[in-house]
Symmetry: C2
Subunit: 398 residues, 2 copies
């Protein structure tokens, strides 16, 4: 046995020098540490630094100024230098269960936590992940010991755009061998996001695994599209190469994505064992994805029986080259004349799109178009979008 | 149209404050920048820093001391402070085409490049990615405009271990609708790695996409296993939660993984459209994965027709509770008596396992067991493993 222990040690020498340095190069700094009382301690070794701070959505928000006005941003807290140049901050109160993002400022330089390998890419920023468990809703975001669906990165060809484009597809546990057909939820991201957003920050596969295991949602396929129609795939995942992510993507809100959406549905129905009828199709999205979902579902009123608008940008009467945004009221009337099984609107009380969503509700009320409305605390944030997904999916295909 | 431009601007306010800060909070620093002459410039804003360095495998190696002796580590170069506190380093020579890892030291604190969203997790470290293209081999690592296979994260149940475990599976372009059956390559990682290693650092799906598109490799399924048998999945992807990655994993080299391997083959043959016979199965791995491939292929001599040992840890005669490592020579003789189509050994000239691999070759030569041998420059590094995969796969299933 000894020989094999030596061999394992020798093989460790074969891991990259980066990994070696993590093993041998320095004393381990533990960060973040979730303490027994659910306070959280953040630590970073920065012996020469003058000022070290942590920022994240676990802290109370602060107001920041942007070219577009004041906006709520995560708060900032100071770390204190302790022995060996390790700086530390412990939250004064327990941190509520949630899936958070945070980063450090070391003398003004923002960085992810060097002691934490779990990170999110959010548009052009990297942030470290803090996950605090201990509550029913939040437990849905965990990888629990339940049957797991498969998550695939799969490419379809867009005839309209003349390019191959990538989808993230969740198929429920047992899909591969059941021989059954499944209903499909199309799940759309917001501006700056891509086909990875719902899978990473949205915890969509965990939420579905857990709700299906509990019998609260029916087994379904979830297709996470890329709504930036000019993009092949998420940054770094397409032939554009590893270029810096760009928010100024052509054609993102000119009707092109909405117009081409049937291409995706056709591909999915051809490629997966779907129940390929309106009554077994849902579409939902957050922010710009809610905007897309609203337009696509009224443009193709025989395609989707369930519609979810999560903190949606609300479409208003407007002309566009693709003829998608025009005749809003008329198309909406047609959509509702076909009695969709669910039209679902969810918004946070402090969302900057709150009023627009109330205006849409007033229009639906005036026309006696039925819908389900969910209002939560907070604003235009992932915490709400995960809550909405977990609330929306149990209502589908029943 | 104006209204929609305003709406897009308003929606940008809805991206997280982290992303906002990336957009509005500071002047953009471009890093890394690949210049026209293929030199590379690295930059980081650190106005208060005293010393800033970059380290990475694009720099000449240096010797470092470890508890296990001297080891080659990536070199280090100093950045110089320019205006506005932006530090900069440009390589004196063009950087050879390759897929590199690097990170910064700011006053001794190692960090990923805050201007680069592309990162690798390597065991317990994060590193930034530098990709320099421009050479045939390296072009294989790019996402080119060719048909793309699907990459799935799928779970199987291990009866031996009593847990669900995750695989990464590549199915070639067209798999979903072709109705055809495919041969299967099982591809194993090294110590510290997991089922994500070949997909991320190994660029396996890009290499296969490109070789298949060029007609150099036949369409095949590639199953990337997790060789840490006690682990459900890669760090953060299993029910263990987002705990710090641990190299001291139980049972990683005690024969348990090798013993349970037929469970994976059975699952794959049941779940995918495979050609489920020895002549259509290959197994290969790097370092510890080469060790595993050697043992598995001789333990089950009717299972694999192609065997690839990439910088392999070479098994020596040794007892173990699972009866895998004993009777090495006898099992090897049995394996070769069944005439495998390919036994492939590849190693770098400066690899610390070089001599062990020459000893194995001597044994094979003495017994007149045929094999293919490939020797490259360099040592125990991903650059070589990508080269070996690109050299090995065109030899399979023909």
């Amino acid at each position: 046995m000894k020989k094999y222990i030596f061999m394992a040690a020798a093989l460790l020498m074969g891991v990259s020098a980066f990994a070696q340095q993590a093993l041998w190069g320095r004393a381990a700094v533990v960060s973040p540490e979730i303490n027994a009382d659910k306070t959280v301690t953040f630590r970073i070794a920065a012996p020469k630094a003058v000022k070290v701070q942590v920022t994240g959505d676990f802290l109370p928000t602060q107001k920041i100024d942007t070219p577009f006005g004041q906006f709520d941003a995560p708060g900032v807290a100071d770390l204190k230098e302790g022995k060996d140049g390790v700086w530390e901050y412990t939250t004064p109160e327990p941190v509520a269960p949630e899936f958070y993002n945070y980063s450090f400022y070391v003398d003004g330089q923002q960085m992810v936590d060097p002691s934490n390998v779990y990170i999110n890419r959010d548009v052009a920023s990297l942030t470290s992940i803090l996950y605090v468990d201990g509550e029913t809703t939040v437990d849905l975001y965990k990888i629990n010991d339940v049957p797991h669906g498969t998550v695939s990165k799969i490419w379809y060809h867009s005839d309209q755009e003349g390019i191959d484009r990538r989808l993230t597809v969740y198929t429920p546990a047992g899909y591969e061998t059941s021989g059954k057909k499944y209903p499909v939820l199309y799940l759309l991201h917001g501006i700056g996001g891509d086909e990875e957003a719902w899978y990473t920050q949205g915890r969509a596969s965990q939420i579905l695994d857990n709700l299906i295991a509990e019998g609260k949602a029916v087994p379904m396929i979830v297709v996470m599209t890329n709504g930036n129609i000019s993009q092949h795939a998420a940054p770094g995942e397409g032939p554009e190469g590893m270029v810096s992510p760009n928010l100024a993507l052509p054609k993102t809100m000119d009707g092109s994505f909405e117009k081409a959406f049937p291409e995706i549905v056709k591909f999915v129905d051809k490629t997966f064992r779907t129940k390929a009828q309106k009554q077994n199709r849902a579409i939902a999205g957050l922010s710009m994805g809610g905007f897309h979902s609203c337009h696509i579902s009224k443009q193709y009123p025989d395609m989707f029986n369930y519609v979810g608008l999560f903190s949606a940008a609300i479409a208003k009467e407007q002309g566009d080259a693709n003829g998608i945004y025009s005749d809003f009221d008329k198309k909406l009337a047609t959509q509702f004349s076909k009695k969709p099984a669910l039209y679902y609107i969810a918004i946070g009380k402090t969302d900057f799109l709150y009023k627009d969503n109330q205006d849409l509700r007033a229009k639906l009320d005036a026309n006696k178009f039925p819908y389900v409305y969910k209002e939560t605390e907070g604003g235009h944030i992932w915490r709400n979008w995960r809550i909405y997904l977990a609330d929306f999916t149990p209502r589908l295909f029943k």
